[in-house]
Amino acid sequence: MTAQPRATLERELRRVQDSLLRMGDMVDAAVGRALTALSERDSRLAQEIVLADADVNALRYRVEEDCLTLIATQQPAAGDLRIVMAAFSIVSDLERMADHAAGIARTVLRMGDEPLLKPLIDIPRMAEVCRDMLRQSLRAFVDRDADTARRIARQDDVIDGLYQQVFRELLSFMVEDPHTTTRALYLLFTAHNLERIGDRITNIVERVVFMTSGELRELNPEPADTDHL
C-alpha cells in the first residue's frame, strides 16, 4: 500500500477543494459586506460588491475546468468520484449565493438616499445565520462529516422563520400605509435574497452527505402547503 500511485489524484483533488474553500470565503465576505453596505447605506461598497461578483464567477468556471480535467485524466471512482461530483455541484451553489449577495448590493444602490423603513433587526440576524451555516457546511465538506451536514440543513428552518417574520411585518407596513410600499419592498428583496442563500446552503450540505455516504436525497423538503413563501 503506497501513496505514490495516487499522488497526482490527491494533488488535484486538493486543488479543487482549495478553490472551493476560497470561493466560500468570497461568498461569506460578499454577504457580510452587502449587509454593511445596507446598514451604513454605503453605495461605494455596494458598487464594489457588484463588481466583485465577476471574480466568483471566474473561480467557479476554473473549478469546473479542474473537475473536468480530473475526470478525464485520473478517472476517479467511488469516493473520489463523489468528491468531484459534489464539488462540481457546490461551486454552482456558491456562485448563485454570490449573485444573491450582489442582489442585495443592487438593492442598496437602488435605495439611494431614501431612509430605511424600519431599523434592521431580523435581516442582519438572517445574514449571520446564513454566514454561520455556510462556514459550517464548508467545514463539514473538508471533514467529510455527514452528521454535521444533516444538522446544518435543519438550521435552514431558522432562516425561513425569520423570513416569514420579516415578510409579515413589512406586509403590515404596506397595508397600513401604501406609501411605504417601495421602501418595504427594498427590505423584502433583501430578506428574500438571504432566504435563497439559506436554500443554497441546504443544497451544499446535501452534496456533503452524498459525498460521504453516497446517499442522494433532499434534506429539507419544502412543505407542500402554499402558506410558505
Binding site: M1, R6, Q75, A78, R82, G214
Partner: protein, 261 residues
C-alpha cells in the same frame, strides 16, 4: 437481481486447493444469464483460478481439489455425470494471449465443428464459419482472406478469431481471462463492443485488471481479495454501477480508487 431462473451459474461454498494450499475460500456467487460479470481484485487473489473452476480447466493441473458446488443451469458440473468435454463446449474460454492455431482463418473456426461433427457438408460448414466470424465482428475484415494464415492477422483480429472459433461450437457461456491485456486501446474497445453485442445471446464472465474496462464493459462486478489464510474470496458483489460509485466494502473502495492493488 432476477429470480433464480435467470442465473446461469450458481456457485455455493466453493473451495479450491493447489495441493495443500488453499486458493479459494467460500466463494458463493450467482452469475446472471446474458449479462457480463467482471471479476476484479489485486494480482494473485484467485480470479483466474475461480474463472477456470467454471469450466473445469483446473482439472488439467495435477493435485488440485475442489469442494463446494458449481451449478450450471442447476446441475453440479463437478458431479459424476458431467461430461467435461461437453461442459467446455458449453462454457468456452478466451485467454490473455490470442492463441489461434497455425492454420488458415477458416480452419481455425472450422476446427471445433469438424471435431464435434456439428455439420455434415461443406456448404453448411462454410455458412457456420461465416456466421461465427460475423458474430465475432471479424467477417468484414477477413472476408477476402479466410484461407490465409491466422497468424498474419493483427493481435486484435487474432483475439476476435479465437472468439469466432469458440462461437462456432455454439457455447452458452464465454469465460474471458484478461482478453485485452495484449491489445492496443482500439483493439480493446472493439473487444468490449463485441462483448456487449454477444451478451444479448451469451453469458460472459471476464477477469480484468483494468478498472476502467470493468467499469465500462460489465453489468455486475465481483471484488475478490485474499482473506484468512491467504485464500481468495469475494468481498463484494453487485451491479458494476454501484461498485464503482458507492461500494459497500472499504476494501472495494480502496481498490477501485487505486489505494492498493
Amino acid at each position: 437481481m432476477g429470480s433464480l431462473a435467470n442465473y446461469r451459474f450458481d456457485v455455493e461454498g466453493l473451495q479450491f486447493f493447489y495441493g495443500a494450499s488453499q486458493a479459494l475460500r467460500d466463494v458463493s456467487i450467482h452469475i446472471e444469464d446474458r449479462r457480463i460479470t467482471a471479476l476484479i481484485g489485486p494480482s494473485g487473489c484467485g480470479k483466474s483460478t475461480f474463472l477456470r473452476c467454471l469450466n473445469r480447466m483446473n482439472d488439467v493441473i495435477p493435485e488440485t481439489r475442489v469442494e463446494g458446488q458449481v451449478r450450471l443451469d442447476g446441475r453440479d458440473i463437478y458431479g459424476p455425470q458431467q461430461d467435461v468435454a461437453e461442459l467446455r463446449r458449453r462454457v468456452g474460454m478466451v485467454f490473455q494471449k490470442p492463441n489461434p492455431f497455425p492454420q488458415s482463418v477458416f480452419d481455425n473456426v472450422a476446427f471445433g465443428p469438424r471435431v464435434l461433427g456439428l455439420v455434415d457438408d461443406r456448404t453448411s460448414l462454410e455458412a457456420l464459419v461465416e456466421e461465427s466470424l460475423k458474430r465475432a465482428a471479424l467477417w468484414e475484415e477477413v472476408a477476402g482472406r479466410v484461407h490465409e494464415g491466422a497468424l498474419s492477422l493483427s493481435l486484435g483480429e487474432q483475439q476476435r478469431l479465437c472468439i469466432a472459433r469458440l462461437l462456432a461450437v455454439e457455447p452458452e457461456v464465454i469465460l474471458m481471462d484478461e482478453p485485452c491485456s495484449a491489445l492496443d486501446p482500439i483493439a480493446t474497445l472493439k473487444i468490449e463492443d463485441l462483448m456487449r453485442q454477444l451478451s444479448a445471446d451469451y453469458t460472459i464472465v471476464i477477469v480484468t485488471h483494468n478498472m476502467q474496462q470493468a467499469a465500462r464493459a460489465s453489468d455486475y462486478a465481483a471484488m475478490m481479495m485474499l482473506v484468512d489464510g491467504r485464500a481468495g474470496s469475494i468481498v463484494e458483489f453487485g451491479p458494476t454501477r454501484k461498485l464503482f460509485t458507492r461500494p459497500s466494502d472499504r476494501r472495494t473502495e480502496d481498490y477501485v480508487t487505486g489505494r492498493f492493488g
